[in-house]
Symmetry: C2
Subunit: 418 residues, 2 copies
């Protein structure tokens, strides 16, 4: 017997349009596979007039009033694709209170208010799912939830921001500057006119907060995550790194040791031999380290209308199927996770670039009891780049003080090791 599932969509941007299109294409297949008929019965937009063509093409009913959705008892699932944390939060809350399931792609909202909203969902015995909020088309949240139940995750690393990864890849492959890479990204539609959110690490930090909840079972606040963007990465950094055998990537990472967490979003050097180094351009990749499985990686498009909409659609289907079998309402994680206690970052190999160095840097490092693993004469005449052995944060700070006395420090980055 066929079952009707009625969906309301809030917003009609890129992802919402992708969802409408995917759903139209997949209608027959999902009906066959699941015995369910999914229909988008209402779409909330700011202006009905502007969207008339789209409304006619897909036979959509538009509304400008949230109440029309909240008060419509035929609507089972509300899909929030408006973004932001103000209206979106209010409307999701109202929808959950009206016993409607909610699917969202809103990472800012879930990172900051996921616990609160999950608690409301639970109280109302409905589901709140948000697969598309992290790593677009990669089903990472569901994988964390289903395939690691018995396993114990000790660390998670990801290339979670497509824009910055696109820029770093372009800088490496086309040998262009940061500014040129930003222009290319903007022209390709990957970066906004104000790129702060992507290049300074905010986007990846929000996604990491969500991942840490599901993978490591802890809440982190924004301030708990060390954050550094890619604005200071130069073309010459990328060249030095490549000569040393590394790629520079904006890496989101969290590790758990004895129930304490260290989490960061920073540019790091990654060995060219590591699978995550081949996550290029707008692609995303999430690497999971666990006790039973060891290393896993999930790779796919981190953004884009169709892949993101595919994740939204998967959430919709999960809700529809669980609804049918009267399972308890699905949640992606508990609403009462403990706040994560923090630990300092462990020792790392380090990459330094100095200018105006007044000494033989090898002798200098050895004299200060730091073993230089590799040294490169600079691209610019007065530069020198080198890699140190593993240093703790304290040792690194001390070394920084010492080299400052004999040179200018142009760059310091950590090297990430598996």
């Amino acid at each position: 017997m066929e079952k009707e599932v009625n969906i309301a969509v809030l917003g009609l941007g890129v992802v919402a349009s992708g969802l409408i299109e995917n759903l139209a294409m997949a209608k027959d297949k999902t009906r066959q596979q699941t015995g369910m008929r999914l229909s988008i019965t209402k779409v909330m937009v700011r202006s009905k007039e502007k969207r008339r063509a789209q409304a006619e093409k897909y036979q959509l009913a538009f509304t400008t009033e949230m109440n029309e959705i909240l008060e419509d008892p035929t609507i089972d699932i509300v899909v929030e694709l408006i973004g932001g944390t103000s209206d979106a939060k209010r409307w999701i809350t109202q929808a959950l209170q009206q016993k409607k399931h909610v699917v969202t792609a809103n990472k800012d909202l879930i990172a900051q208010f996921g616990n609160e909203l999950t608690a409301i969902a639970k109280d109302n015995d409905v589901s709140l799912l948000y697969e598309a909020s992290v790593a677009g088309g990669i089903p990472i949240l569901q994988n964390l939830n289903t395939n690691f139940i018995a396993d114990e995750i000790t660390g998670i690393q990801g290339i979670l921001n497509g824009t910055s990864n696109f820029m770093l890849t372009q800088m490496a492959e086309k040998e262009i500057s940061y500014d040129e890479a930003l222009e290319t990204a903007q022209a390709a539609g990957f970066a906004e006119s104000d790129p702060t959110n992507d290049v300074d690490g905010w986007d990846a930090v929000y996604k990491l907060m969500i991942l840490v909840r599901l993978a490591l079972g802890k809440n982190l606040s924004l301030n708990d995550i060390e954050m550094q963007g890619i604005r200071e990465i130069t073309q010459s950094d990328i060249t030095y790194a490549q000569n040393f055998g590394y790629q520079i990537k904006l890496l989101a990472q969290a590790e758990k040791k004895a129930e304490k967490i260290h989490a960061s979003v920073t540019p790091v050097l990654i060995s060219q031999e590591h699978p995550i180094a081949l996550v290029k351009n707008e692609m995303n990749g999430v690497f999971v380290e666990s006790k039973f499985i060891g290393s896993s990686m999930f790779y796919g498009p981190g953004a884009g209308a169709s892949p993101t909409a595919a994740s939204v659609l998967t959430d919709i289907l999960r809700i529809a199927q669980s609804k049918e079998s009267n399972d308890p309402a699905l949640q992606m994680c508990s609403s009462d996770l403990p706040q994560g206690e923090l630990i300092r970052k462990g020792p790392t190999l380090n990459y330094f670039v100095l200018t105006n160095c007044k000494v033989d840097i090898k002798d200098f490092l050895v004299k200060h009891q730091v073993n230089p693993l590799m040294i490169q004469q600079g691209i610019e005449n007065d530069e020198v780049a080198f890699i140190t052995e593993r240093l703790s944060e304290t040792e690194k700070k001390s070394l920084k003080g010492q080299v400052k006395q004999v040179s200018n420090i142009k760059q310091i980055l950590s090297i990430w090791e598996d």
Copy 2:
């Protein structure tokens, strides 16, 4: 309220021991997360005496009689880890008929008799799951089943055999011969004394048959899959390929065009820039191409006691959870899929190595209207290696005939392009 789930394990080899160990470690966590208490209540072995130490350590009850398991009404799930297709098939059938759920890691069995066994499972309203049968610790089957329901998969490629991949990686990294790589693999426990199953492609072919059912919805017979192993790959092939910018990998691949399938397990050249080229040593990787998501990759350990046991445990938990919510019995795919109609392989770039070449190969190729993309003077004096433009199988055969007249052909391989 806590629920008991009682498990019987057939066999006590590497994976079974891994399962017993993982389950002991994960007991508290799974109880917390799922409210279920999983116990291994019986283990079937050939000889009780030999295993006494293990029995005591984990407090296991051994039996040598399948009937003791079949007739025990407290046993919910039978985990088959014996391997082979004779006893295993009979015992799985009997267990299903006794309304016991079955989990297996047996790829040979599922590839050849998966449909028949799934039909029996369905008739008896119990589940038959086999996540561990393909790509060890990678949850690829479940991902195909859940995250691509609405999507349409057009192609799937995988490095599915850890042994051959370990050997090819060692040949590339250590610059050793095929024979030396085989010895290394045998010493490391990755290859058996008779390596046929791994190096000739059988293992990967069985896994590909299972993947094709879930990803492309078709049954293939063994004969439908083009198969070539890695015995003829030499150290010099690997060096030529690397100089051209490629890695040689034993790639399992299937693509669907207008509902027809081409499937093969063959050594191919893969660009060093492609993520699948970084699947090294005993690791596996499965690349999925689909309409909505585009490219996805799932990467992880392809074998090993603990990762494989982790996949078995995930299947056990899925069954336990679905049992609790009275869902219909889980199956990984339909038991009545249509037999796949076949198409020929599309045109590919090709890699040739010739010895004793009596002509200028560039002139010769151009004269025969084949555009050589790259040419390398041989490592051995009388060798020459080159890459041709894309050729159909017919064109390739014709070129083969022509170069045979002026040289000896030492190697021909296809190049795989994304």
